[in-house]
Subunit: 300 residues, 3 copies
């Protein structure tokens, strides 16, 4: 990892990842130790697309380090509407803040921004591209709950469009995890991603039926199947019904299965799971704070 910015999960070596996760674990154990470690630092929040949890999580992380944030606000209330280029916007804001967190609808936006400024840029999602801090918090959650040794993970749902899934699968090749991909035929992992994973030495096993693999899993990572991907409402309903996790299904799982979801969920995980030991998706969201604190602490 370049230690001055984070654009893609692909730039992270196993050592880079472990350094961030180790630091995050230290911070989670004793947040008071860093509560004033960045009292004079300012983080710029540039979200060109809506976001709740990613934005609030960075905002929280920075403030838990004693620092503060400066928020561009929504695109509707900004100069962007006057036709300003992204390059100009970030070159102005680098004069205000010590680092920039950028979410943008265009793939490659964070990389482009980082080339125009001297302050570190953290990619918080660039369209269909990367969202590396999501990958880091996913890895942290897996390590805390299941560990990476002899890990068998199932990743289920929309594997075609989900950038979260592609990043995570790639990052897991650092840890020799056994990866299973479960989706309807129409939402299979794209060929290019499968190729990448093979190149990185992963064994990719694909399934259309969760029941074929459920009992072998240590972690089940569920993603949202988006209604708008299906021209036909009935087809959507049928598929959403088949790729839904409930208590009856989980009777076939290991007792210590870890169920994750990047959130927001709609109907992919039945609420009855929420109060079980399986449910790790809220903890996963909460882990965004120590992981982003660790990252900001290493950068600032």
């Amino acid at each position: 990892m370049r230690h001055d910015y984070l654009i893609s999960a692909k730039q992270l070596s196993r050592g880079d990842i472990e350094a961030v996760l180790d630091r995050a674990a230290e911070i989670a154990d004793d947040p008071g130790a860093v509560a004033h470690s960045h009292d004079n630092d300012l983080l710029g929040l540039l979200f060109f697309e809506p976001s709740t949890r990613t934005k609030m999580s960075f905002d929280t992380a920075m403030k838990r380090l004693g620092g503060d944030t400066v928020d561009m606000g929504s695109v509707e209330s900004s100069s962007v509407k006057k036709g300003e280029s992204l390059a100009d916007t970030v070159r102005v804001i680098e004069g205000y803040t010590d680092a920039i967190v950028l979410r943008h609808p265009s793939e490659g936006a964070a990389k482009l921004a980082s080339e125009f400024v001297d302050v570190p840029v953290i990619n918080a999602g660039d369209g269909a591209g990367q969202h590396p801090t999501q990958t880091l918090l996913d890895l942290y959650t897996i390590r805390e709950n299941a560990g990476f040794d002899d890990l068998t993970i199932g990743i289920m749902g929309d594997l075609k469009y989900g950038r979260t899934v592609h990043s995570l699968a790639h990052a897991l090749t650092n840890f020799d995890a056994s990866q299973h991909f479960i989706s309807p035929e129409s939402l299979r992992l794209p060929r290019s991603v499968r190729y990448d994973l093979h190149e990185a030495g992963a064994q990719v096993r694909e399934h259309t039926d969760i029941e074929n693999v459920l009992e072998a899993l240590d972690v089940l990572y569920v993603t949202r199947i988006q209604r708008e991907r299906f021209p036909d409402e009935n087809e959507y309903r049928q598929i959403a019904g088949e790729y839904r996790i409930d208590a009856e299904l989980l009777e076939q799982a290991k007792d210590d299965l870890t169920v994750m979801h990047p959130l927001p969920r709609v109907d992919e995980i039945a609420p009855e799971i929420d109060e079980t030991e399986y449910a790790t998706y809220f903890e996963q969201a909460h882990n965004g704070v120590p992981v982003r604190m660790a990252l900001l602490d290493s950068i600032l």
Copy 2:
């Protein structure tokens, strides 16, 4: 009062109320004493409906205690648009912040949220339901300006839909205040509220004409009559004209009458009143800060 959250003014006993008001008075006298008392605390602001003064007032209160806030932003810029449930949203955010302030268009939203999270939830308005911190700042303003002993208060305007009025009237039953309700027939206090007040031991006297009771009042609490309640524009104008306070009318009032209004006002109080000793509505809005500081200080 449960000391971990505040959902409804009805949960507040006289002792609870007096404890908050006493603490607010201490803080107002010497805000410097608490300026760094919550340096490491974060408050989540979740406003699912527009708000200026309530949101800014909580934001101010938290920062005057040395703490900071994390704001969800508008619903348009959040995951809520992706179909996330309120329960999921608050379960994520409880991992970020030490307490949550929630405004939501649905009655009962704050209660529901509080059942899903372990951090304290403060209700900042739930539709037609409750807005307990408004009640506390109203009570604080009454106590500072008129006191509760032998208090005679008139509450005027839209008594049918105004949640502020219902909460205040109920809370005043703790203090044996003599309460007069002044409104057009079509905006009378609802039967259920009248019943509640009787049950709580209050004498409810209703008037359609302010002049019948004005000279007896220590406090006159004016509320906005909303245009949208009237299908007929002429009827609205006539009624709004009759329930308007101006200098000529106040010649009949006690010299030390306290005129309050929860704001925003449109035309219910003539601007000529603003510079008189009667006008207490801006002071009332400002009192939101020490009252919310006292509440946050007791909760965090």
Copy 3:
């Protein structure tokens, strides 16, 4: 200058301006010296119109002083939609914050607001009126890069509607600068502004062609020509093309010419200029921080 608020650049004497610029230079040299000088102060941000750089710059400045801000948010999410007057809004907010920064679409809004409240009001733009902190950061940038002695400045582009230009031109009369105004006939400096400048002792020289004066300039201040000023698209394109700065044109300029722009730019300055020594517009934007810090520090 009244030291309790700043409404118009016209209220600033040469001494007032130099005091702010001197303080800004001190702060820029050693920002750490003031990093906690306003730890207990709160600044209210009231932006009734979209803004990126002005709002973020004030937000940054206040936080770099150790203070914090409370933001009204967009008009759509505020009580303003309920019909509240500006006077009422600011009278509420003066009870929350130690100073108010106000941007509003109506000329005279900041002056009106300042008459209703006791806290200092800083005008961050009032429609076609004033934007005095922009003028101060422009002056700071000129002083740092070219100095005021024997200064020859060209101001180019939309001189008819640009409030930034009018304020700057007026302020420069304090420094005996030689001012050249370069624009198409249809966007000439308004007669009233020319009159004001003459009254203040300035020599106003107007040009339609930048090449007539370029080689004499120490500073070239470029502004955006807005498409919406021209009913005819072709006329707009022709004029925008003529009043555009590129590398070939600047071959005629002094080597140490300072090129400024208030930003956002669209196409008035070719990107090839960005990496040259001429380009001072990003530095100019960054200078908003120390200048606003100096101003806030003097007011709070």
